[in-house]
């Protein structure tokens, strides 16, 4: 336990870094992904085309490459100086924009589980496309994709460690810092693993809670 108690400052700052990347990147992915998922079923051809292009390009790109683009290619273009906050923001954008493609596809599969009659009834009431989606279709689509959606977020949680390679402090950085302080690297990695397993168990628990809460819907 000494590796934890002797380095509490390091563990708390890296855990905080991971949580910030996860929560901010997750929110961005959820909002953007929901919009893109809705675009892909919209009646407007341009919206469908943009949505499809976005998913097919970003989802097909390795995450590290997306990070390279945000960390190294973008700052000179925008004239950004790479301070800690800027790096963190760029990392959040990279994670959010990458994960949004998976969220979009998950949402789209959820939309396909909602009977077409639900949207027809909503349209027949005079609701606009946006209202049909936000009031009737998406709430039901979310309920039906909680398990795969949670897998997307579990993957996001683990992907946050990629940011460690781009000087954004998180649990993925723990090993190298501890190594500098002379700790055993193997034990350090085992403890990082334990923390991740615990975090993912928390997410699984949240998934079960959501499923139980919404299971009466249909």
């Amino acid at each position: 336990m000494g590796i934890i108690t002797d380095n509490l400052d390091l563990w708390s700052s890296t855990l905080l870094g991971t949580l910030v990347l996860f929560v901010a990147g997750g929110l961005l992915a959820l909002v953007l992904g929901t919009m893109v998922g809705a675009m892909r079923v919209s009646p407007i051809p341009v919206a469908r085309a943009v949505g499809t292009f976005y998913v097919n390009t970003i989802r097909n790109t390795p995450l590290t490459l997306v990070f390279f683009a945000f960390a190294f290619a973008l700052p000179p273009l925008l004239g950004l100086r790479l301070t800690g906050d800027v790096s963190l923001t760029l990392a959040i954008c990279a994670l959010g924009i990458y994960t949004a493609t998976y969220v979009a596809e998950t949402i789209r599969s959820g939309i396909n589980t909602v009977p077409v009659g639900q949207a027809e009834a909503a349209r027949a009431l005079g609701l606009t496309f946006g209202q049909v989606m936000t009031l009737v279709v998406l709430p039901q689509a979310f309920r039906s994709v909680i398990p795969p959606m949670m897998s997307v977020f579990i993957a996001l949680l683990k992907n946050t460690t990629v940011a460690a390679g781009f000087s954004v402090v998180n649990l993925g950085s723990v090993r190298s810092y501890l190594s500098e302080r002379g700790e055993n690297q193997f034990i350090a990695i085992v403890w990082v693993m334990v923390v991740f397993v615990a975090l993912v168990l928390l997410l699984s628990w949240a998934q079960r809670a959501l499923e139980n809460r919404w299971k009466v819907a249909r």
């Binding site: 027809e120 009834a121 349209r123 027949a124 009431l125 005079g126 606009t128 039901q140």
Partner: protein, 262 residues
């Protein structure tokens, strides 16, 4: 069924009875190679109850769905209260708000309570306050006999109750005309009457109705006119008594003879 007051005192119906409200003019529809509607023309007056009958695949449901553009059509025109049906967007949504629709499979919003199903349209489309919409919704639910179920989810109701909620949901928009697309076809026999009773009540209150159905009893009791469709065409139109006792077309005679043998 117990009679009650008309839905609201600002109802669209009752006034100006007898003018054409829904005019379907030479409408053609193709699904790929399949010619679903062939030169269909139909005029429905304000306050009139028109029952559309015919064999499966005759295009009657398609016609019903075309009237509020849940189905597009190839050519021809459809006017509701003098206004051409817009192709899409906000104008179409606004027009749909005036056309109530009841589906064979009820299509109640599965994630919303019965009360929220009925108030969604008034609140989001007509911008009514939540309190006003809920007050009106409870009156409507009372009228169709499901007031006790207001807080339940649709899945917890019987089919007949769900369909009556669906009627209340459509009525809450205070529509000019109500379309019924085989409203009792998915129901157990003992639940059919509870839905038909509500529909007969509406007809007696002067609601303009276009009803696609296989319920000949309802056609006889409540219809002002029967429209018989076959193979995508309107084959015959007549008042119910005349249609059921003395159909003129061979197609209608054949259809009716098959009904009676069972």
């Amino acid at each position: 069924m117990q009679r009650s007051e008309p839905v609201t005192d600002t109802s669209n119906f009752s006034a100006r009875r007898g003018e054409p409200l829904v005019v379907v003019d030479h409408v053609e529809k193709h699904y790929g190679q399949f010619h679903a509607l062939k030169d269909v023309s139909l005029s429905v007056d304000r306050g009139e109850v028109v029952v559309v009958i015919g064999p499966s695949g005759s295009g009657k449901s398609t016609l019903c769905r075309t009237i509020n553009r849940l189905e597009t059509f190839t050519s021809g025109s459809i006017r509701i209260d003098g206004e051409e049906l817009p192709k899409e967007g906000k104008a179409l949504a606004a027009l749909r708000a005036d056309v109530g629709m009841v589906f064979q499979s009820f299509n109640l919003f599965a994630h919303l309570s019965v009360l929220d199903n009925v108030t969604l349209g008034p609140i989001k489309v007509k911008r009514q306050s939540k309190a006003d919409a809920e007050r009106a919704a409870r009156v409507l639910l009372e009228r169709v006999g499901v007031a006790q179920q207001a807080e339940k989810l649709p899945g917890q109701l019987s089919g007949g109750q769900q369909q009556r909620v669906a009627i209340a949901r459509a009525l809450a928009m205070n529509p000019k005309v109500m379309l019924f697309d085989e409203p009792t076809s998915a129901l157990d026999p003992e639940m059919i009457n509870e839905v038909l009773d509500v529909m007969v009540g509406l007809a007696q209150d002067g609601m303009t109705m276009i009803v696609v159905t296989h319920e000949m009893g309802f056609a006889r009791k409540a219809a002002d006119r029967v429209v018989f469709m076959a193979d995508g065409q309107v084959v015959e139109e007549a008042v119910p008594e005349q249609f059921f006792t003395a159909p003129t077309s061979a197609r209608a005679k054949d259809f009716l003879s098959k009904l009676i043998t069972h």
